[in-house]
């Protein structure tokens, strides 16, 4: 309208039609988007309100016969009538490259998780992009991990030193389980490269997948093991000789297979050894 044409834009190009209602006192204030990269007007790529929400003609100018003001063409968040892929399309029209390239095939996209399920687009501080607050966003849905990350043996996620996104790309990836690298092991090697080898003496499951033995989200067992020694080891190794012995406290006749480092009291180099010799019969990952 003529009045809107006279009203200045406050943050984004052409936002006068929106900010005449959506000021700081309204139910849906929008000016804070000015604090974000989306509100950086000098960047020619910066969107307008309608880039994301659609032209929304009837929302801006309520039809005379309408009792309630119609919603914008594209609405985000809980209760939105906009299909999830249409919500995502508004974001992907600019953000489909880079780490979001595989979004359309991701489990999140397939389960109607939208960009705004996790991101707060209008706020300067988007909790999911801050490693001190990111986990709280992810744990809203991933309840199993909520308990695990507080276990005594864990990664420093609660302290904000490791973030979920250090290992997972929630936007989808070519690797399994949205791993940021092409495999579980390649992701773990980013910080635990000493386990990579290859070694003179290798341990097959170590080379295949760290998560066969470890739960990276946290456990009550040292080294984030899924099952305690010797039971974990006895799940693969043939029951001959000392491998068939019962778990027992202390040393006794069974060896120290439960206390201290368990089977690793002797088989210290469980991830592999590069020692080419076999002095004292130590080829079994012992030195």
């Amino acid at each position: 309208s003529a009045q809107d044409n006279k009203r200045p834009d406050l943050v984004l190009k052409g936002d006068a039609a929106c900010t005449r209602c959506h000021n700081e006192g309204s139910e849906f204030p929008v000016l804070a988007i000015g604090k974000t990269p989306h509100g950086t007007g000098a960047d020619a790529r910066t969107p307008t309100c309608t880039s994301c929400h659609g032209v929304s003609e009837t929302h801006v100018r309520k039809p005379r016969d309408a009792i309630e003001r119609p919603r914008p063409d594209i609405l985000f968040g809980r209760g939105s009538p906009t299909a999830s892929h249409s919500q995502d399309a508004a974001c992907l029209s600019c953000h489909e490259g880079g780490k979001r390239m595989h979004w359309s095939l991701s489990m999140h996209a397939g389960r109607d998780t939208t960009c705004t399920s996790c991101h707060q687009v209008h706020a300067q501080h988007d909790p999911v992009r801050d490693k001190t607050t990111q986990a709280a966003v992810c744990l809203n849905c991933h309840k199993e991990q909520r308990a695990q990350i507080s276990r005594p043996h864990r990664h420093p996620i609660l302290e904000g030193k490791v973030a979920c996104s250090d290992c997972h790309n929630p936007h989808g990836s070519a690797g399994p389980k949205n791993m940021v690298r092409d495999s579980v092991n390649d992701t773990c090697y980013q910080c635990h490269m000493e386990k990579r080898g290859p070694f003179v003496r290798s341990h097959q499951p170590v080379q295949e997948d760290c998560s066969i033995c470890h739960n990276p989200h946290g456990t009550t067992l040292p080294s984030l093991l899924k099952i305690r020694s010797p039971f974990l080891c006895q799940s693969c190794h043939e029951p001959t000789g000392h491998r068939a012995r019962l778990a027992q406290l202390g040393i006794g006749s069974t060896g120290a297979n439960f206390e201290a480092r368990g089977c690793m009291n002797c088989h210290t180099q469980i991830h592999g050894s590069n020692n080419p010799q076999d002095l004292s019969n130590t080829r079994g990952l012992r030195r």
Binding site: G34, K35, R146, A174, P198, A247, Q248
Partner: protein, 659 residues
């Protein structure tokens, strides 16, 4: 209000300008602790400097940003990141980040030389503090849109030094004696990545190089504690230097708004040719390790009809271990499960997935999914663990989901997976070729039937109340024996139940409650001896309250408690009673966190934090390991986990906000 040239007022300008904040103050921890401060440095009684900053400046005319983040500057977990950006053109950042890990166990030992490559026991036993600290230096450079709005380039470099000591030990091949031999940590991990990108509305492409390098020093750990049996194990090989180089391309193409395809192809060469710490009878001075990994992935998603979505994905990874096969040990006798050759590991994985999703009335979607995975692994003539060349797994999933609703969303799904594979190879013994032990199907090779049910509900019965229910149950049944003996992996179970409630009491007050029940069980058997059941059952509770007590005072409280029980039961299969059962381990953690922000002036105030943390465990990992216990290090070293641990933390910080 002042009206600016662009027609806006000071008030509007403040609402759209980035905020900055600086906090400085002090904190006090009232007691030493192993659990609370192991990753922050708040592990000792004393006073600490608390200094944090989050500075964001933008030049509106040019779109230039300067961001400075300082966190925990007064602690051992300090990190600093500075970033400059001309939005839409270029950006770079530099980051310094320390990640400490203070050993929560207390060690009293007479071992000297800890942290170095040569250990001895000349010293008197005294308490030793263990610390591994990763100093991560991230250097990032991102350049965008140099040539056009479609082309970009980014370069990332990360260098991470890890120094300190790690609890470690060695055991005798005979005599059942153990030495405490802490491992020195002095290694560097480097990651380098350069990527070209092309992005337009339909086609996105990225390609580049990703290189990693691990360097470790020292290479060997030696010790002499005067015990001939244990001395025979010295030296011990520490992790060798290794590196990898990857070239990769990936892309996505939107054939139409409803059809999109993506792909990735990558080739990685990983090598390990560090010099051996001892001579080898093979004549080699290094392994010559070489692994070539090829990844190919392609996927497509489509909406052929408004209500129908289909996705398909195929992923192939070939890990080809081309390390030379050499005899490093010459076996002295017959009937060994090994022949002295090294064993390069090839693994070829093919994974496919097809999913269809159909929109039903009421905002409900019906989802059907089929997944197939095939793994092919190599093996060697003589081995101590059973092997099959191929495992395959089919997974079928059916689900109903509802997302488009103001009041009730969620889903229910059921999945059944069937893992099977080729025949197991016969284990034979070196020299004699007699039959070896052929009893177990290893955990990740065994036939397995898996059933999985998941229910999640988000209910908003009234505007201020929200409820979430989450149930996840997995049941695994293994065919873990190869000989009908009933041995090997038998069963695995997992149950998760979570309940969350949130309530908004008023515009200024909101609260939350949550509960988690996590259960895991694992059953395995040694034929003719016993079957064992490991279980882990935990209950976790949480509550939170946030609000405004006064116009100047915002406050909150978080309370959490968890109790986890680990049980290990062994039941005899032989009729001979199990000598003694293993004790239950109970771990309890509780934390109360009170915090508040009191506004002094418009842009400044005081932040207050109080934490009470309590941790206790009767886990026997180290509990009986020492004098008077059931086992010990023969050099006299004693390791204990202090329990219970209780501490109070109080922190006060002055904060200033500005733009």
């Amino acid at each position: 209000a002042t009206v600016r040239a662009d027609g806006s007022t000071d008030e509007v300008s403040a609402l759209r300008a980035p905020d900055s904040r600086v906090e400085i103050g002090g904190g006090h921890v009232d007691s030493d602790n192993g659990n609370f401060g192991k990753y922050t440095g708040l592990n000792e009684q004393g006073e600490y400097l608390l200094l944090d900053a989050d500075i964001n400046r933008r030049e509106d005319d040019s779109g230039s940003w300067l961001r400075l983040r300082v966190r925990n500057a007064g602690l051992d977990s300090r990190e600093i990141r500075i970033e400059q950006e001309r939005q839409g053109s270029w950006s770079y950042y530099l980051e310094y980040n320390e990640i400490p890990r203070f050993e929560p166990l207390t060690v009293t030992t007479g071992v000297v030389g800890i942290g170095g490559p040569n250990l001895s026991t000349a010293g008197a036993a005294s308490e030793v503090e263990f610390e591994s600290k990763r100093k991560r230096l991230d250097l990032g450079l991102t350049l965008n849109s140099l040539a056009s709005s479609k082309w970009g380039f980014s370069f990332d470099f990360r260098n991470e030094e890890k120094k300190g000591e790690r609890i470690f030990g060695v055991g005798t091949p005979g005599g059942n004696r153990f030495n405490f031999t802490p491992e020195p940590l002095d290694s560097t991990i480097s990651l380098i990545e350069g990527t070209f990108r092309y992005t337009d509305r339909k086609f996105q492409f990225a390609g580049g190089y990703y290189g990693t390098m691990f360097r470790n020093d020292p290479k060997a750990l030696t010790w002499d504690y005067g015990d001939a049996n244990l001395l025979a194990l010295s030296p011990l090989a520490l992790p060798p230097d290794n590196e990898s180089h990857q070239v990769h391309v990936s892309g996505g193409y939107s054939f139409s708004p409803a059809v999109r395809g993506t792909f990735k192809a990558a080739y990685t060469l990983a090598t390990q040719d560090d010099t051996f710490i001892l001579p080898s009878v093979s004549g080699r001075t290094d392994l010559g390790g070489r692994i070539e990994t090829t990844l190919l992935q392609a996927g497509i998603s489509a909406r052929p009809m408004p209500n129908l979505s289909i996705t398909g994905n195929l992923r192939y990874e070939d890990r080809d271990d081309r390390t030379p096969v050499v005899q490093y040990i010459v076996p002295a006798g017959a009937n060994n499960t090994w022949d002295g050759f090294n064993e390069p590991r090839d693994i070829e994985t093919t994974h496919g997935k097809l999913e269809a999703s159909y929109g039903l009335p009421g905002g409900v979607r019906a989802i059907g999914e089929v997944q197939y995975e095939k793994k092919e692994r190599n093996t060697f003539t003589y081995r101590s663990v059973s092997h099959r060349d191929t495992t395959e797994e089919m997974t079928y999933t059916a689900a109903l989901r509802r997302t488009m609703s103001d009041t009730l969303t969620g889903g229910i799904s059921y999945a059944h997976a069937d893992r099977f594979g080729s025949d197991f190879r016969q284990n034979i013994l070196f020299n004699s070729n007699a039959a070896g032990s052929n009893v177990f199907a290893p955990l990740h090779y065994a036939d397995r039937q898996r059933d999985k049910v998941r229910v999640s509900l988000n209910w908003f019965p009234t505007d201020p109340l929200s409820l979430q229910v989450y149930v996840d149950e997995i049941s695994d049944r293994y065919d873990g024996d190869r000989d009908g003996s009933g041995g090997g992996p038998r069963r695995g179970e997992q149950r998760v139940f979570a309940l969350d409630a949130g309530y908004r009491f008023s515009e200024n007050w909101q609260g939350s409650l949550w509960y988690n029940r996590n259960e895991y069980r694992w059953e395995n058997a040694i034929p003719g001896v016993a079957y064992d059941t490991s279980s882990n059952e935990g209950d976790s509770y949480g509550a939170g309250l946030r609000g405004r007590l006064h116009a100047r005072l915002e406050a909150g409280v978080d309370l959490s408690y968890s109790e986890v029980e680990d049980r290990w039961n062994q039941e005899s299969l032989s009729g001979v009673p199990v000598p003694s059962q293993l004790p239950v381990a109970t771990t309890r953690q509780a934390r109360l966190n009170l915090f508040g922000n009191y506004t002094l002036e418009e842009n400044s105030g005081i932040r207050f934090d109080y934490i009470y943390d309590q941790y206790s465990t009767d886990d026997v990992t180290w509990g009986g390991w020492g004098p008077g216990g059931t086992g010990s290090y023969s050099d006299g070293t004693v390791i204990r986990e202090p329990s219970p641990q209780k501490l109070h933390f109080v922190g006060v910080q002055y904060f200033h906000r500005f733009q």
